[in-house]
């Protein structure tokens, strides 16, 4: 009873905070009084309705979603495999680490412009998302391998347990929380990077280019509506991922 009341209070506080910022937005839009500069939440909702009436709306969302997922999953898969290899083999770690550190330090815009010089525009967001999300996964996974309980590894060595069994029963469960947090971070980053890359690389069809067109045609309400769609989708996917990860962690524990 007490716990449910506390949870209810927490939800009310969250809802209250969101309402507070919407009120601030309404007041700011009313004060500016120019929908071309700052559309109100009502203008944004009207813009959103207008967007949903267009056939391109869903196409842009689906194509951007595919880019985000393809880039993130490829980066995650490679980061997981190479991260485990780097964590287990010091030479491989030292070989790959300077490259990963360099990629991580280069500004996203530089990466996008450079990649755009080398490959087709439609593939730029995917490659850029990979390049941004791979270091996150690699770093987390190698840390996961490094922090694996040495005492368990010693126990396995004493009992002559096979390397495959050690990987499955010691390393992978140890890496799991690190990999989960890497995946959640990569999805968050993936959205931002993919949309930015779509704009800079003129990738069509895409949510990014729709944002860009809304800007050059001074359709600020549509610009806000697209931003709202991105924020909501990003939030939903992040929440779904966390739920799926929690579910699979429970399955393993059971």
């Amino acid at each position: 009873m007490k716990i449910s009341t506390q949870l209810g209070n927490k939800k009310n506080i969250k809802l209250g905070a969101i309402l507070f910022w919407i009120v601030i937005w309404i007041l700011a839009a009313w004060r500016v009084n120019n929908p071309l500069v700052l559309p109100s939440p009502f203008d944004t909702l009207k813009g959103l309705v207008k967007l949903t009436e267009s056939a391109d709306f869903l196409v842009a969302i689906i194509v951007t979603l595919i880019r985000v997922f393809a880039g993130v999953l490829f980066a995650f898969g490679m980061g997981l495999a190479l991260g485990i290899a780097g964590g287990l083999n010091r030479f491989f770690y030292e070989l790959l680490n300077p490259l990963v550190v360099t990629i991580r330090s280069v500004p996203v815009v530089s990466v996008i412009i450079l990649i755009n010089l080398w490959i087709a525009s439609s593939l730029v967001p995917l490659v850029v998302t990979f390049l941004i999300c791979f270091p996150v996964t690699w770093t987390n996974v190698t840390q996961g391998v490094f922090s694996t309980d040495k005492k368990l590894l010693e126990m396995a060595a004493v009992y002559h347990v096979s390397p495959a069994k050690i990987l499955k029963n010691i390393y992978l469960p140890s890496i799991r929380p690190y990999a989960s947090s890497a995946l959640i971070n990569a999805i968050g980053l993936g959205w931002k990077v993919t949309v930015t890359a779509e704009v800079l690389a003129n990738a069509l069809p895409s949510m990014g280019m729709n944002l860009y067109y809304a800007r050059i045609y001074l359709e600020t309400d549509l610009l806000f509506a697209w931003t709202l769609v991105i924020v909501v989708l990003s939030y939903l996917i992040e929440k779904l991922t966390i739920k799926a990860l929690k579910g699979s962690a429970r399955e393993v524990a059971e």
């Binding site: 005492k151 396995a156 002559h160 347990v161």
Partner: protein
């Protein structure tokens, strides 16, 4: 057959722990090792287990190299059930798996953990965890069983019961045991031979026959 440690030298953090140390361990008896804290008793077990490399010297008589080890802490996989923890040390080779499952059943029954076989380590008491660790050590057909103060964190009553359990398992599956402890009661109850070691560099101060087989 005996296990022989010959002219062992080992330096740790610029401290000479073993300097030309030799020891003969008799087969199929329990040898207790006692001595001051930090003298090198655990290092000796770790050298025998292959977890540390000697600077020089040799360890002879461990042909197959098959070992089991009861550590101070149970060292159980936290994400695996009791049964899965025991299955984890199943010797390699598919033909062994079916036999090993029935071995696990027998062992779980012997250590009184049949009911707890589906529980995870976090749901077990300290004594139950150490019972799993002891069960694991007897489950594999090891030539040498190393035990590093396995009862140290347990209360007296539980310690007594676990020592009885250990002795009953050993009677059924006899093997060479090297057992480190500071507790004279544990030494007296479990060991056939008691070795008292000196401080660094390690020397055997006393070799005492404690109980007959």
């Amino acid at each position: 057959m005996i296990i022989e440690i010959k002219n062992l030298c080992k330096t740790y953090d610029q401290q000479m722990i073993f300097d030309d140390f030799s020891l003969t361990i008799e087969r199929d008896i329990i040898t207790g090792i006692t001595g001051p804290s930090g003298a090198g008793k655990t290092t000796l077990l770790r050298l025998l287990a292959g977890l540390e490399k000697p600077d020089s010297g040799s360890i002879e008589g461990l042909q197959g190299g098959s070992l089991s080890y009861v550590f101070q802490e149970p060292r159980l996989l936290p994400w695996c059930t009791v049964r899965e923890n025991l299955r984890f040390v199943c010797p390699q080779g598919h033909d062994l798996k079916k036999d090993f499952e029935s071995e696990i059943d027998i062992m779980l029954d012997q250590v009184g953990l049949t009911e707890a076989q589906s529980l995870y380590p976090q749901a077990l008491s300290g004594g139950m965890k150490q019972r799993v660790s002891i069960a694991r050590s007897f489950l594999v057909p090891s030539e040498l069983l190393l035990m590093d103060e396995p009862f140290i964190s347990l209360d007296l009553d539980l310690k007594e019961r676990l020592m009885e359990l250990f002795l009953s398992l050993w009677e059924k599956k006899k093997r060479t045991v090297l057992f480190v402890s500071h507790d004279p009661l544990e030494m007296k109850k479990l060991s056939h031979t008691i070795l008292t070691l000196s401080d660094k560099p390690v020397r055997i101060l006393k070799r005492e026959e404690n109980k007959k087989l």
